[in-house]
Structure formats: structure tokens, C-alpha cells
């Protein structure tokens, strides 16, 4: 269980009442990740998302040629949120940054519960997830269309 004070510093909690933050603190749990240690690995089953309370995470894309850094996840930010939707496979590896990180973990099961209870937090988090998702989706579609058209032979 988390201290409510730890969560109240997160921007997404800003408009929640103290009692709502307390309820969330009761369902979320604290996770500490050492520098370079894996929070999760690409290709493993996803079951939770994480808010960074302190420190930093690093995200990497793994392929047979090696790993590519996708960038840091800083204090106050959210990572792995797609897990709350479909519990699919992780699309990247996430590790503790140079100082490690202290995280607040929200499981998919707990998110499903707060969503079903129509918690304002669940709706705000859904807005945040949807916004990030659709931006990534539109970006990927633009890239695919661009590449599809580049891939054409000149028309006869």
C-alpha cells in the first residue's frame, strides 16, 4: 500500500479529492527498481502500469541486432498504460535509470474495478491513455502510408 501523500504529487491526481486519492493509495502498491534492473521485459505479459514517483526509468526496444533506447520516463510520468486496456504483451523493455526509481503500480484488475465504480480518476486516466494512444496511432498510420506510397513502382 502507498502513502496518499506520495500520489498527491502526481499531476493526474491534481483534481481528485483527498478521499479519492486515499482510495487509490489503498489499491496501488509501491515498487522500487534498482539502476539497470528490469521492471518488465519486451514480449512478456502486461498486467499493470506504473507512475514514476521518484527517479527515472529507461525504455528500450529489443531486436535481434540489439537494443535501442527509446528514452527516459521521468518523475510524474506514466509508463505501460496499454496494459490497462488489453493485458497484451509488452512492446518494449523498461529498466531503472541511473538512480533507480520508486513507482506506484496500478494493476489492470484494480483499474477495472475503479473504472466499473465510475471513479473520476479512472475516467481521467482513460482520457490520458486515449490521448497518448491516438497520437501514437495517427503517427504510425502516417508513417505507414508514407512508406506504402514510397514503396510503389511508378504507375504505368
Amino acid at each position: 500500500m502507498l502513502q496518499a501523500k506520495s500520489l498527491s504529487d502526481l499531476r493526474i491526481m491534481a483534481t481528485l479529492s483527498p478521499s479519492e486519492v486515499k482510495i487509490l493509495a489503498n489499491v496501488m502498491r509501491e515498487v522500487n527498481v534498482a539502476p539497470g534492473a528490469a521492471l518488465y521485459r519486451q514480449g512478456t505479459r502486461a498486467s499493470a502500469c506504473h507512475f514514476v514517483l521518484e527517479g527515472e526509468l529507461q525504455v528500450y526496444l529489443e531486436d535481434p541486432a540489439g537494443r535501442r533506447a527509446l528514452g527516459p520516463v521521468a518523475k510524474g510520468e506514466l509508463v505501460g498504460e496499454i496494459a490497462l486496456l488489453d493485458g497484451g504483451l509488452r512492446s518494449a523493455t523498461c529498466e531503472g535509470g541511473s538512480e533507480g526509481a520508486r513507482l506506484a503500480e496500478l494493476s489492470k484488475a484494480d483499474f477495472d474495478q475503479v473504472f466499473a465504480a465510475q471513479s473520476p480518476f479512472a475516467f481521467k486516466l482513460m482520457d490520458l491513455i486515449a490521448d497518448r494512444l491516438v497520437r501514437r496511432f495517427r503517427g504510425s498510420m502516417d508513417m505507414l502510408v508514407e512508406r506504402a506510397l514510397e514503396d510503389q513502382e511508378p504507375s504505368a
Binding site: L61, G88, F115, D131, V134, M141, L144, A148, L149, D151
Partner: protein
């Protein structure tokens, strides 16, 4: 059955409304506007156009396409009854990413973006159930896109480019970007 009951049964075909109760679907019905495309070839919306809602195909056949020049298209997918298209706008109100054209006379419902936004503004749980369903669909497509962008698209050059009236399908078994793009939409 009453007309409303029939329409609620029809709405249950759409994945967009997974998890909604009959009373919820009654509310959804008030957000829908019927729309008919009378002849093959009519454009439902074009790439880059301002979005006015999500389209639910009740009857007919649609083609998702990428325009190339004045007279050619890349066919991405064909969509049949029970399909939703253009639903990403419910999340961000952004413009249309691709063009959609009717290949047959078609009957649709438009889930009005402004009415949906009002439902969301008042934090109606129905709006958030729909948002979650849209997000799930987009999540699947994004995973697919990510895989595709990480692969060697150069191996899949068999992409359809043809005059509008005559779409030629790629030959052979080789994985193609065409089939990959079709996969994004689950088109048959």
C-alpha cells in the same frame, strides 16, 4: 419487437458498444444519425477532412483507400456490415487519416462527434465505455503498426495501385505491405 428494440439488437453487432446495457444503447441511439449512400463510388470521407463522427456500417460495402495522384488509389481494406470506421476521432476529434468510399449502395449510422463530446463532458459512463472500446481497437492496430514498421517493408512490394474502377489484387504468396495494411482494419 418495437423499432427501438430492433435497433438495439442491430447496435449489439458493433464492437464499439461492448459492455453496454440495453438502456445504455437506448442513449447511444439518440447520438446516431442515419445516412445512406445511394450509388457505388460515393466518398464517405476523404483523407485530411475534418471529422464529424464515427461511421457504423449497417449494410453495403466500403473501401478504405489511400489516394495516389488524381486517378489511382491504394486499397487498404474492404469493410462489411458490422464494421466501424473513423472512430479514432471520438478520442481526439482529429482529421480523417484515410479515404473511405462506398463500393455498393450502403446504409450507415453516424455517431455524432459533437453529441458524443457532450456526453463525455458530463462524465457519462456510457461515453467512457465507448472510449475504452475505441482505445482497445486502436491498441490492437497500434501493436500491428509497430510490428510492421519494425519489419522490412521492402520485402512486400506487391501493393495495389490501379484505376478506381479496377482494383488489381497482388499476385503470389509473398507477404505484402498490402496485406499488412489490410490487417490494420481487419478488412476481408
Amino acid at each position: 419487437m418495437t423499432e427501438l428494440e430492433n435497433e438495439i439488437v442491430a447496435l449489439r453487432r458493433f464492437a464499439l458498444f461492448r459492455g453496454l446495457s440495453d438502456p445504455d444503447l437506448g442513449v447511444v441511439k439518440s447520438l446516431l444519425t442515419p445516412f445512406t449512400i445511394d450509388s457505388a463510388g460515393g466518398i464517405l470521407f476523404d483523407r485530411g477532412a475534418e471529422s464529424d463522427g464515427a461511421w457504423l456500417l449497417r449494410q453495403g460495402l466500403l473501401r478504405v483507400e489511400v489516394p495516389r495522384g488524381e486517378e489511382q488509389v491504394l486499397e487498404v481494406a474492404r469493410l462489411g456490415p458490422g464494421t466501424v470506421v473513423g472512430e479514432a476521432c471520438l478520442l481526439d476529434g482529429g482529421p480523417r487519416g484515410l479515404r473511405v468510399r462506398a463500393l455498393e449502395p450502403s446504409r450507415l449510422w453516424r455517431l455524432d462527434l459533437q453529441k458524443f463530446r457532450e456526453l463525455k463532458r458530463v462524465k457519462n459512463p456510457i461515453a467512457y465505455k465507448i472510449i475504452r472500446n475505441v482505445a482497445l481497437t486502436i491498441c490492437d492496430r497500434l501493436r500491428y503498426n509497430t510490428t510492421l514498421l519494425g519489419s522490412d517493408l521492402g520485402e512486400g512490394r506487391a501493393v495495389v495501385i490501379a484505376p478506381l474502377a479496377e482494383v488489381v489484387r497482388p499476385q503470389g504468396d509473398r507477404p505484402s505491405l498490402f496485406s499488412a495494411l489490410r490487417g490494420l482494419f481487419g478488412g476481408g
